[in-house]
């Protein structure tokens, strides 16, 4: 009977850990699926592996403070540590291989609070749930024989997921940009702003570039890493700027579905200017060991009921532990070369 009591508690623990239910979707399985698709590059992020660190500040104009009590929206400056990247797990992928770029930001507020966000240069996310995201990863896994996903499996996936229609329609005409700087980056997931009265407002945010030259002109022939060079060149000429725009939802707008845009007539507030002043390679830069978990939020911003958000948080944490473990050469992790050995 004693053994039974102890075993029951131990089994409950194993169940909660997911050890006896391997079919349940866990952060570990999502990151494994990312690795299965791209391969393992020790020390690098399991997704958005290729990127560059940037730093600057956010200059709030105070407008958003009506809707969120977060200090970052009071008039003034907040330091920002960011990262531009390409989606996918291969840190050596050519910049022209995907038409999407991402921009992650960490705002450091004065009292120890942080606001972290990961945005992408696309209007909607392909799928609405972590389960569908996992299925998409499995369906788009490259066939070892051809090195490309099996079109039949990909077709079957998208046929079963009509919610991906808006993304597919966009991606059909999307072209890889020649610059990180000329892109609009969308937060995609909905959040709540909490105002000083405690009232919540459903929002989505994006950053819109001031520089629009070269937008959509496509890659430079023969250069796999043209984005980093373009960024270096532009920053040598001066800081680069984006407007931080916040869209306020109407009461019936979905907050739990990143595949759907909100109608274009929704109120948009201009919260201020994001200024990027410098860049550093990610292998040695300060963004390397930052996990851009989009659920790390200051008081005054809360996550919505979007099911992708907790899944992103959980999977990013798993990826973060794998890559920092590799950097630390923890036994059992893949061997990471020291940062200086990275090409």
């Amino acid at each position: 009977m004693i053994a039974l009591a102890v075993a029951a508690l131990a089994s409950a623990f194993a169940y909660v850990a997911g050890w006896i239910t391997p079919q349940r979707l866990t952060s570990h399985r999502i990151v494994n699926a990312l690795q299965d698709n791209s391969g393992v590059y020790p020390g690098y992020r399991r997704n958005h592996a290729k990127g560059v660190c940037v730093a600057g500040y956010f200059e709030s104009n105070g407008t958003a403070a009506t809707y969120s009590k977060a200090e970052v929206f009071a008039q003034g400056r907040t330091p920002v540590l960011g990262r531009f990247a390409l989606p996918g797990g291969n840190p050596y992928a050519p910049d022209s291989s995907v038409p999407i770029r991402s921009f992650a930001l960490r705002f450091s507020l004065p009292n120890g609070e942080q606001w972290r966000t990961g945005m992408n240069s696309m209007p909607v996310f392909p799928v609405a749930t972590p389960e569908a995201f996992y299925e998409q990863l499995v369906a788009t896994r490259p066939d070892p024989a051809t090195g490309k996903p099996d079109p039949k499996r990909v077709g079957a996936f998208f046929a079963a997921h009509p919610e991906a229609g808006a993304f597919l329609a966009w991606v059909k005409t999307a072209k890889p940009s020649a610059s990180y700087v000329t892109e609009t980056y969308e937060g995609l997931n909905a959040f709540y702003f909490i105002d000083a009265m405690g009232k919540r407002h459903a929002v989505r945010w994006k950053v819109v570039p001031e520089a629009t030259d070269d937008a959509g002109t496509g890659p430079q022939a023969g250069d796999k890493d043209y984005l980093a060079r373009d960024l270096e060149r532009r920053l040598a000429q001066g800081p680069q700027r984006w407007r931080l725009l916040v869209t306020l939802a109407a009461p019936d707008d979905p907050t739990n579905d990143a595949t759907k845009v909100w109608p274009a007539d929704r109120r948009v507030i201009d919260a201020g200017t994001l200024v990027i002043e410098s860049e550093q390679p990610q292998e040695s830069g300060p963004c390397r060991d930052v996990n851009y978990d989009p659920t790390i939020l200051p008081s005054g911003i809360k996550i919505s009921d979007d099911p992708l958000l907790p899944a992103r948080s959980s999977a990013y944490a798993d990826s973060y532990l794998r890559r920092t473990g590799e950097e630390a050469h923890i036994p059992g992790t893949a061997h990471a070369s020291t940062p200086s050995e990275h090409p």
């Binding site: 004693i2 131990a10 623990f13 952060s27 948080s313 944490a317 630390a328």
Partner: protein, 209 residues
């Protein structure tokens, strides 16, 4: 014989409160890192302030233990069993104090804000360093497994004392009876005594710990 035959009521209150909190904490921890559902968010939000609370309670409990020494183990217990009992109790104390500190250090090294809810934040106790984070994060995991196994052993041993040996060990932490340890001097702990009263003075001659 002047040593108490049961744990001080405050020690018992702390023991059972922390038993619930620590078990909950272990399940919250192992659940929140695996799940990708909405539970991840609120489990993570509970984990940090609960860890801080357990740390504070563990410090208080250590003080209570030093002030009110626990009852001795039954004299007829084999020496090895006594050694394991003492060692596992100190291991439990060590882990109750170490896990929250490792968690705090780990979040510091990861560059994370250490939120206890709302805008209440603890300061970092280490500078941000990914490699340090990884070591601390893995330590946090394996120390938590060790704590869970020690708790399982502790529970099994308590049941063994209560159901098989039927000695005074289990009642000394639950409901000590008046007649318990009849050879002892008048029991300092009265069964009907409410749990949270002024600590009764230490019986004369108790070891000055």
């Amino acid at each position: 014989m002047n040593t108490p035959n049961a744990f001080h009521p405050l020690a018992r209150l702390l023991h059972w409160t922390m038993a619930v909190l620590i078990l909950a904490m272990l399940f919250i921890g192992v659940g929140m890192v695996s799940t990708v559902s909405g539970k991840h968010t609120w489990l993570l939000a509970i984990h940090k302030p609960l860890g801080a609370l357990i740390f504070v309670l563990a410090l208080i409990r250590l003080g209570v233990r030093l002030r009110f020494p626990p009852p001795p183990l039954p004299a007829d217990m084999p020496a090895l069993m006594k050694f394991v009992a003492h060692a596992s109790h100190w291991l439990l104390y060590a882990l109750m104090l170490a896990l929250p500190l490792v968690g705090w250090a780990m979040l510091s090294a990861g560059g994370y804000p250490i939120s206890l809810g709302g805008s209440l934040h603890l300061p970092p106790i280490l500078s941000a360093n990914g490699e340090t984070f990884a070591w601390l994060r893995e330590s946090h995991r394996y120390l938590a497994y060790l704590l869970f196994f020690t708790v399982l052993g502790h529970m099994g041993a308590a049941l063994y004392h209560g159901l098989i040996r039927r000695d005074d060990v289990l009642p000394s932490m639950t409901f000590p009876s008046r007649g318990m340890a009849a050879s002892a001097a008048p029991a300092p702990v009265i069964v009907t005594e409410p749990t949270l009263t002024e600590p009764s003075p230490r019986p004369d001659g108790a070891p000055p710990l």
